[in-house]
Symmetry: C2
Subunit: 343 residues, 2 copies
């Protein structure tokens, strides 16, 4: 593969090269890349906006993350936040900082993933910034969405008696990470050894190519269910549940046996001799939706396989609890990834 | 001064600590920090949005940049882009990546500058991301503004015969940078020597604490002048003029003698034996507004000291030219800062 140096393009040349084929898809995208700022018109809807920064060596490891997957995932983690507000993502701004270690071809690969995610979710890339970094790859994305004021769902509005629901399954991304970290270690010690990841496609795929739950967002709309509170699961179920309880001023009970964990995840967890429930509670990076609904809405969602009811909301004084399969009750504690603990 | 480690707070604790006193000022700021995303309602106006990434060692040097100034400037460079669209800035999202080299107190200083700029411009901080970095300080800001569709001014709409205007004065920030780089070199070679910057307050101030031209934006509105094209000067006048000419499909003539250069800048440039005109054309980081107006609007702005008319728009075939004091005509070429050239 040929290698083109970034300096051969220059900043403006590179931006043009990477964005020249963009065709704006949303009526609300009035003006895209190429001016001081982009212009959006949400025609009476409210604008929902979120931003995330991803730094090489902290949030991703390029030794086992293909650049195309990284581009895809960088977009997905932001869109997930938009869906978590019960809004529809419409636009994206992408800034990258890159060292001279990266060729134009490498950045193109990254952008391929970005564009794939944008296309899948009907989102327009409308702006950004490209700069050099002294070390490593830095990504900052701002995602924008729209919703009517009535549609928007916050974290702070769960009420006693509401049912706690969760999409998809939990814990897989964390187990995928354990595998990749183990293989990296083996590779560094004995570069000749072939990685043994054949049976772990599911958990590794969940880490490297997560989904943002557009389908759940659309399903809720179709079923005319507006959750009473919602957020996405990026730091682990425990941490997110505590966020909802704290901002809503409520407590909760969840049931271990109700936690959605895939067979692949269970089998993979046992290989590491770790508890699949612990992975589901504290693993993080699942990008599933955690939401609460009124009991009256239960029947509208009950037959839908990709949504699990895992517990219910209680009064604040009752705390946040998990009832185990063995019949014990424990307090839920946040042990999600905390980048600063390694600090 | 005491030093609190970031890990003592944790990510959520730190965000809460830094944002707990925010009081939203704009009616359009529906929901701020603390959920998956922020919510904005521009009540029928269009949303203008821009983003910038600033990386330690590439865009700023902490050996001579106080953190409070850095916070202030990081906001200003983004607001400048909003004013350059002839829009009013309303909200801001701020993401930072910080290594354990920084204490909570250091980050607080940075935020002081951020809040000072927000207050000055009536802007709400409504979201962001805080993460650890392996090395150095990384800042990514997204600024949001609003305008009616008729108010918004692009780069691509300058027309033959329009007058080219520029706010404030040019070149000072670049000369300020030369002084600070020189003093840094002297300091590194002989740490005992006191810096000799006494007479250079103006040019250094222009680098470390630039303004975003809210006043010019308001003045244009007051005088009912809507520029035919506009952008802010971040990479140097030459580079920006070429952007306007290229996107508008026009040419231009500017006059060296009309370029606004302060006496302080001239004197400072002579100390480095460099041409003040070259600094004005290629220096960058002035964050002044460059705009074109219809000839009919000339009288409305003519007596305003902070706006200079520096030339006029021609047909594309005539190219982009500068007429020197000596009577020569040269092509304008972009020699603005290009971070990738150093690669």
């Amino acid at each position: 593969m040929s290698r083109t140096e970034i300096k051969d393009y220059g900043e403006f040349g590179l931006i043009h090269h990477l964005t020249k084929n963009i065709e704006l898809q949303n009526a609300s995208s009035i003006l895209g890349v190429g001016d001081d700022a982009a212009v959006i018109d949400h025609f009476g809807k409210q604008t929902v906006i979120t931003t995330d920064m991803l730094i090489e060596g902290v949030h991703f490891d390029l030794s086992y993350t293909p650049l195309k997957h990284l581009g895809y995932k960088s977009v997905i983690v932001n869109l997930s936040d938009i869906y978590a507000m019960n809004a529809t993502p419409t636009q994206l701004l992408l800034s990258i900082g890159i060292s001279s270690r990266f060729s134009v071809e490498a950045i193109e690969e990254f952008y391929e993933g970005v564009y794939a995610a944008c296309e899948e979710h009907g989102v327009d890339l409308i702006g950004g910034d490209t700069s050099s970094s002294q070390k490593g790859f830095i990504i900052s994305i701002t995602a924008i969405g729209e919703a009517t004021p009535e549609q928007i769902v916050k974290r702070s509005t769960a009420q006693k008696g509401d049912l706690i629901c969760c999409s998809g399954d939990l814990g897989a991304a964390y187990i995928g990470l354990l595998f990749l970290e183990r293989e990296k270690k083996i590779y560094l010690e004995s570069p000749g050894v072939q990685p043994d990841l054949e049976n772990e496609a599911y958990v590794i795929g969940r880490l490297l190519k997560p989904s943002a739950r557009k389908d759940i967002h659309e399903l809720l709309e179709e079923k005319k269910v507006i959750p009473t509170s919602m957020m996405d699961i990026s730091d682990g179920l425990s941490s997110e549940l505590l966020h909802i309880c704290e901002s809503s001023g409520v407590g909760c009970v969840i049931y271990e046996e109700k936690l959605p964990i895939s067979e692949d995840s269970r089998n993979a967890a046992y290989k590491f001799e770790i508890d699949p429930t612990a992975c589901a509670l504290s693993g993080g990076e699942d990008y599933e939706l955690l939401f609460t609904i009124k009991q009256d809405d239960y029947e509208k969602l009950t037959l839908i396989e990709k949504i699990s009811v895992i517990g219910y909301i209680t009064e604040a004084e009752e705390g946040a609890k998990i009832k185990t399969k063995g019949g014990n009750t424990y307090n839920i504690t946040a042990q999600g990834w905390n980048a600063f603990k390694e600090g």
